[in-house]
């Protein structure tokens, strides 16, 4: 996510703009802890390239270091990065890239991730940025380390490094077949090298470890239950915390009686301004005591689903608007003289990330230093939040992020970390706080709701001439059209959101693609041109054309004719370096009006593929997750309360919702690798909507398109999921 482009919550925004303090462990400390060997650091700027060779003088450039790599005397390689593993398989794919450049077996690599005391500062894991940014950084370091090892071997053998080869964790002299392992080369050395980004990297067509389907590094610990997620962390003498939540958003406390709770054994109530929490010897006692607190709240009247989209359009955020994202030609006059015009409104509901592991933290204070284990996509951001909340310096806070039960953009913030730290400070013991499911639905943040208005015009032969696209509140991600249109006016309008909103996997790319690709489908039908042909007629981007054609071919597009019971739809787009095209087959029971997605074919291209199996897993997962927002997921709310904060009321995709999924990968080894965690989501909803239209003639313009019961304030779709 690009934080300048996106509507994000105040707390997220605040922490993103804070200082960029580096890791608190200096590089010299590092070699003490790691016991010598070879430590390589990557500088952001090429000026650091001058500082090379043995030792380093003068500077302490930790703020500019983006990653570290250490080769120990036993040949083990540790790679330090502030990125985190949340299920997207980046622990494995980054290690593949390092193993490739360093010429060591995959198993030699250990990734140390998301620990603010051990890893260099990092903004966070979001926006599909890890593969295109951290990937090349780690490859650069590994290539430099390999070069150093070649030089050390050359010195030992009193020869030039040029004739030596590095492979399989060894440097070999092919002339007389002698060799030294990396461990033998780094043993006894205390080497520090800061390298620039100017290294020759191994081209993808030559990859042997990167580019292959290496199994997930931590897979065995997942199937045995051994992996410790944030909510599994325990500390000696640890207590359990719980926090009293208001009856609604923006509520004020009228009265409070904690007497009954405090009479329960071992309970300590902690009050600090608006914060009311408690600590108990066990989790069960904590929840029982919380239920014994009597609190009365005054909850003011607030907006609800009823009239939400008009509210978003009529309540702009702040004063001056930034102006259009894209403008060319003159839309008004172009539309006036055009043969075909189509003007529609689209809407997307608030939806919840609902990661299966809710927010969880364990906090421990030792001699004034706070250590927090928590599930977050932004460990350094949470460190900043803790520094602010408790007036601490960077050295006084350590945030550790164990690989967590995912986030999907929903765990950028440190609420549970601050709560656990506050309670731990009050009782002088480590405290664990795990949010309940209902707390996670209510007090986390949501994917923004939004209204999108599109006005478009085409000539009778299907040539697009004008495109006007306004997005209210949902966001500007992928708001620009990939199609060639001479006259464009495309604008995002920030609005006052009645609910707390923030990042979500793919951001507004999903909403903007839903509106644009539904509208393109409508234009195609209006011109009488096949929807795929209509798109290709207006599309010059060769990479996007390629995924459309690949998906269509695999799907059998053109041979399949929609009937009232079975519809076929297509949609696609590009965002964050990923190109996607999705074909959907839906089945509609004409009697019950029940919609089921039967088959999805999705073609994907994001440059050189680092791990094809991990990529397929991400893409299939994105399709399944996309089904929820497309058909049935939505937050219902009224007067400051979430009305469906349980899985029994907030429906998420399940086994029976899953269609046959076929993923077609296009591996462009001639192009840099882009991220793949998000954009695989965006084709699903419009492809399904277009398939529903093809079958039924009903154009569904609201996401979710077919909830089991109507969403208050939205037109009843007439269809059910």
């Amino acid at each position: 996510m690009n934080h300048r482009d996106e509507p994000i919550t105040e707390s997220v925004q605040g922490s993103l703009t804070t200082r960029q303090g580096g890791s608190e462990m200096g590089r010299r400390d590092f070699l003490k802890v790691l016991g010598g060997g070879l430590l390589v650091c990557l500088a952001h700027t090429s000026s650091w390239a001058q500082e090379s060779g043995r030792g380093f003088g003068g500077h302490e450039p930790s703020n500019d270091l983006s990653s570290w790599l250490h080769i120990a005397a036993d040949g083990r390689v540790k790679v330090f990065t502030g990125k985190v593993e949340v299920g997207q398989n980046i622990r494995t794919s980054l290690a593949q890239l390092v193993a490739e450049e360093l010429r060591v077996p995959f198993d030699a690599i250990t990734m140390v991730m998301g620990d603010t005391d051990l890893t260099p500062w990092d903004m966070g894991t979001f926006g599909s940025r890890t593969t295109p940014t951290m990937g090349p950084q780690l490859r650069t370091m590994a290539a430099a380390a390999r070069q150093m090892l070649l030089e050390i071997a050359a010195q030992r053998w009193h020869m030039a490094p040029a004739g030596l080869t590095a492979a399989g964790g060894k440097v070999t002299d092919p002339q007389n077949t002698r060799s030294l392992t990396y461990g033998e080369l780094s043993r006894g050395e205390k080497l520090l090298k800061t390298v620039s980004s100017e290294q020759r990297l191994t081209p993808a067509p030559e990859w042997k470890i990167a580019g292959t389907a290496v199994p997930k590094a931590e897979g065995r610990d997942l199937v045995t239950g051994k992996h410790k997620y944030p909510s599994d962390i325990t500390r000696p003498e640890m207590m359990f915390g719980a926090v009293l939540r208001p009856d609604g958003f923006n509520a004020t406390l009228v009265s409070l009686n904690t007497g009954a709770a405090e009479k329960l054994p071992g309970i300590k109530v902690v009050r600090d301004g608006d914060f009311i929490g408690l600590v108990a010897p066990d989790a069960f006692a904590a929840q029982r005591a919380l239920a014994a607190i009597e609190a009365k709240w005054n909850v003011p009247a607030q907006p609800s689903n009823q009239g939400l989209f008009a509210y978003l359009k009529n309540n702009p955020e702040g004063g001056r608007e930034d102006g259009p994202q894209y403008v060319s030609g003159s839309v008004g006059p172009a539309l006036a003289g055009v043969a075909l015009k189509l003007e529609e409104q689209y809407a997307v509901a608030y939806i919840a990330h609902a990661p299966l592991e809710p927010r969880a933290s364990v906090a421990e204070w030792i001699d004034g230093k706070l250590t927090v284990w928590t599930g977050t996509q932004r460990p350094f951001g949470v460190r900043d939040e803790l520094m602010q909340a408790f007036h601490l310096s960077p050295a006084e806070v350590r945030v550790i992020q164990p690989d967590m039960g995912s986030g999907y953009g929903g765990k950028h913030t440190g609420e549970a970390a601050i709560e656990a730290a506050r309670l731990a400070k009050a009782v002088g013991k480590p405290v664990k706080v795990v949010w309940t499911r209902s707390e996670e639905f209510t007090w986390a943040y949501l994917r923004p709701a939004g209204l999108i208005e599109i006005k478009a015009g085409a000539q009778r032969d299907g040539t697009l001439v004008a495109w006007e696209h306004h997005n209210y509140n949902s966001g500007p991600a992928a708001i620009g059209t990939p199609y060639s249109v001479a006259n464009q006016l495309i604008q995002y309008h920030a609005a006052k959101s009645p609910l707390r909103q923030g990042s979500y996997r793919g951001l507004a790319s999903t909403a903007n693609h839903f509106a644009r690709e539904s509208h393109m489908d409508g234009m195609a039908h209006a011109t009488g041109i096949d929807p795929l042909e209509f798109r290709l007629k207006n599309l010059t981007d060769a990479r996007l054309r390629a995924v459309f054609q690949a998906a269509a071919e695999k799907f059998g597009w053109g041979r399949l004719k929609s009937t009232p019971e079975r519809g076929f739809g297509i949609a696609g787009g590009v965002d964050k370096g990923g190109y996607v095209a999705t074909c959907a087959e839906v089945e509609i029971d004409t009697a019950s009006k029940r919609v089921r997605i039967r088959r999805i074919v999705q073609a994907w291209e994001c440059g050189a593929i680092v791990n094809p199996d991990g990529l397929r897993n991400q893409l299939a997962g994105a399709i399944v997750q996309g089904i929820g927002g497309a058909l049935f997921e939505r937050i219902l709310f009224a007067d400051g309360r979430i009305l469906n904060p349980h899985f029994a009321q907030y429906r998420v995709p399940r086994f029976s919702d899953t269609p046959q999924i076929e993923v077609v990968l296009i591996d462009r080894t001639d192009l840099p690798s882009a991220g793949a965690g998000e954009t695989g989501l965006v084709g699903l909803a419009p492809a399904v909507g277009n398939a529903i239209f093809a079958a039924s003639g009903i154009r569904l313009r609201n996401m979710p398109m077919a909830p089991r019961s109507g969403v208050p304030g939205e037109p009843d779709p007439g269809l059910r999921s």
Partner: protein
């Protein structure tokens, strides 16, 4: 508080807890068996699934008092002498996970299913697993893993 002896993974584990405390809470917070996960506490997601007398059960809906009567198997009890159970191995072979938070519950749900039906159809797998949520959307691979385990068991692999 009451004193109970739980029969977990073949061991007898004494524990003090309120009789109405859930088995999930006791496993995780008193016995440090954290492989069993909290996902909703309402029996809606399946993350907390354990075997009670061989049957998949939501440990968030069972009190420690009633669980004390049964033989309990958690994810930690499936691996024997360093060898994964057939279902665990099948999940690993199919990479049937992303973040892995639902995996313990999925494996125990599948283990229970395969004890009742050695060769389930895809429809039967879907029906049996419908109460398990994988928010990462790994369902197609999980179905493949259950089918794989079923095949391996038919070839004589131990459960």
């Amino acid at each position: 508080m009451g004193d109970f002896v739980l029969k977990v993974n073949g061991a007898r584990l004494p524990v003090s807890a309120s009789p109405e405390e859930t088995l999930l809470s006791v496993l995780r917070n008193r016995l440090d068996l954290t492989g069993t996960k909290y996902g909703c506490g309402e029996g809606q997601c399946g993350a907390c699934t354990v075997l009670l007398d061989g049957r998949a059960t939501r440990s968030c809906l069972v009190s420690v008092e009633s669980a004390a009567k049964a033989k309990i198997v958690t994810i930690e009890g499936l691996e024997q002498n360093g060898k994964l159970s057939t279902v665990q191995q099948a999940f690993l072979d199919e990479s049937a996970f992303q973040c892995g938070y639902c995996t313990s519950g999925m494996i125990l749900g599948a283990t229970s299913l395969l004890q009742e039906r050695h060769n389930p159809t895809e429809e039967q797998i879907v029906e049996a697993m419908e109460g398990h949520i994988c928010r990462c959307g790994t369902y197609p691979r999980i179905i493949e893993a259950v089918k794989r385990a079923s095949r391996l068991l038919a070839q004589g692999a131990s459960r």
